[in-house]
């Protein structure tokens, strides 16, 4: 097995996949805790479907770098859901559901009408389930992922205290003089970037699991925000790395394998928590 792994690691696209996979895992787990605590666990799913719709439009329009369209559209929708959703009469979960299914249907519809590829079902399947897309990244995409990941981690570290305040009690944060809307906007933008990056790794249908599982696992082991965030990051990076290696060695779909490893980690954390409570 080690010889096989050694052989596979000679291919540059495997190294690219590991670098991008670990970076995405790190970024998604940072914000995962905030999303779970703000009861926005399903926003990843909704925004991923928006990104799918935008990706379909970019494909039909023959964009060389599809991220140029997917990223701004997803950011705008994230802002609409997280900020606008609070002001309109339609409640948060309904807005997410509406935008989510609407984008999914619209994307698939235009892909069918203006099919640019002979393998339409293959393209759709690859986008929804990730398939091997993390192993087929171009150098430009790897570079962009690294830059965006660095920016996201920097934003999280700089605004850590503000994000912490906004996550737990918006009213208190507002009373304390914080510009809550601004920090919610930053959270929205960062979430959108994570979603677009994660699409390459696990596909748009599995993104939620990628964001939520490490946070939930960490919450079973630790109680403070900082400890949960750090544990979530460590778990997410380990699971992504192990998942990518396992999928490469076993020849299984990358996204599904990573999510399966995340679910396994959650099971272990749950067992540890239960065992700890019982004893």
């Amino acid at each position: 097995m080690l010889e096989t792994l050694e052989l596979y690691l000679e291919y540059p696209f495997v190294i690219h996949a590991l670098i991008v996979g670990v970076l995405i895992a790190l970024c998604s787990s940072l914000l995962g805790v905030t999303l779970v605590l703000k009861r926005f666990s399903l926003i990843g799913d909704g925004l991923a479907h928006v990104a799918f719709g935008a990706l379909c439009v970019a494909t039909v329009l023959n964009f060389a770098n599809k991220m140029l369209l997917t990223l701004p559209v997803t950011i705008i929708c994230a802002i609409l859901i997280l900020r606008g959703g609070q002001k309109v009469k339609i409640k948060g979960d309904a807005v997410i559901a509406m935008i989510s299914v609407g984008s999914l249907a619209f994307g698939y519809l235009i892909m069918n009408i203006f099919a640019a590829s002979s393998n339409l079902s293959g393209d759709v399947c690859a986008t929804l389930f990730g398939s091997t897309s993390i192993l087929t990244l171009t150098e430009q995409e790897v570079f962009l992922s690294v830059i965006l990941s660095i920016l996201m981690v920097a934003a999280f570290i700089i605004f850590y205290n503000k994000i912490f305040a906004v996550t737990f009690d918006e009213d208190f944060a507002r009373a304390a003089g914080l510009n809550v809307d601004f920090y919610n906007l930053i959270i929205s933008v960062v979430i959108a970037i994570i979603i677009v990056l994660s699409m390459n790794l696990v596909g748009s249908l599995l993104i939620s699991a990628f964001i939520i599982f490490p946070a939930l696992s960490a919450m079973k082991l630790f109680k403070t925000f900082r400890a949960v965030t750090i544990c979530s990051v460590i778990l997410s990076v380990i699971c992504a790395f192990a998942g990518i290696i396992a999928s490469i060695l076993a020849g299984t779909p990358v996204g599904s394998t990573i999510v399966a490893v995340d679910a396994l980690a959650f099971g272990i954390c749950l067992a540890i928590n239960e065992f700890g409570s019982a004893s």
């Binding site: 291919y11 540059p12 293959g122 389930f129 192993l135 087929t136």
Partner: protein
């Protein structure tokens, strides 16, 4: 004793040298068997990704000898009345595929959709400013 050891070392060197001499293979045979990228050792995901990499970065593979296994697929271009022969590889989820065009050295192509293993030299040809990868001087391996 020293003389005996010296003789033993000399004899060992000579015999070792003889042994290596016997293993020498003619250079032409070595060149014919040398495979730069053996895709048959990889699993479905890796093969798919490696072929994708070749299609995306053809310049990096030009002139290299590639060994590949997949399904044979022939298509006809009615405009130019040309036949294009390809080795098609599927990924693990069987929803994505990559094709590698090839030209057999002897021109005896197998039945359509049969599983084939090819060894050939990677090359690129350009049509309407788009680089297309192709394996040339290909021989089929059983």
């Amino acid at each position: 004793m020293k003389k005996f050891l010296f003789a033993l070392v000399i004899m060992s060197i000579i015999f070792c040298g003889c042994g290596e001499e016997k293993k020498i293979v003619p250079e032409k045979v070595l060149q014919a068997e040398k495979i730069d990228v053996d895709l048959t050792k990889l699993n479905a995901n890796m093969v798919y990704s490696a072929v994708f990499d070749m299609v995306e970065n053809p310049a990096e593979y030009r002139g290299k000898v590639i060994k590949i296994r997949g399904n044979y697929f022939v298509s006809h271009d009615p405009a130019k009345d040309e036949y294009h022969h390809a080795c098609v590889i599927w990924d693990a989820t069987a929803c994505c595929m990559q094709g590698m065009e090839f030209e057999l050295a002897d021109g005896k192509y197998p039945p359509n959709n049969s599983e084939i293993t090819l060894i050939g030299k990677f090359d690129v040809y350009t049509i309407q400013k788009i680089d297309n990868p192709i394996l040339r001087d290909v021989r089929l391996e059983n």
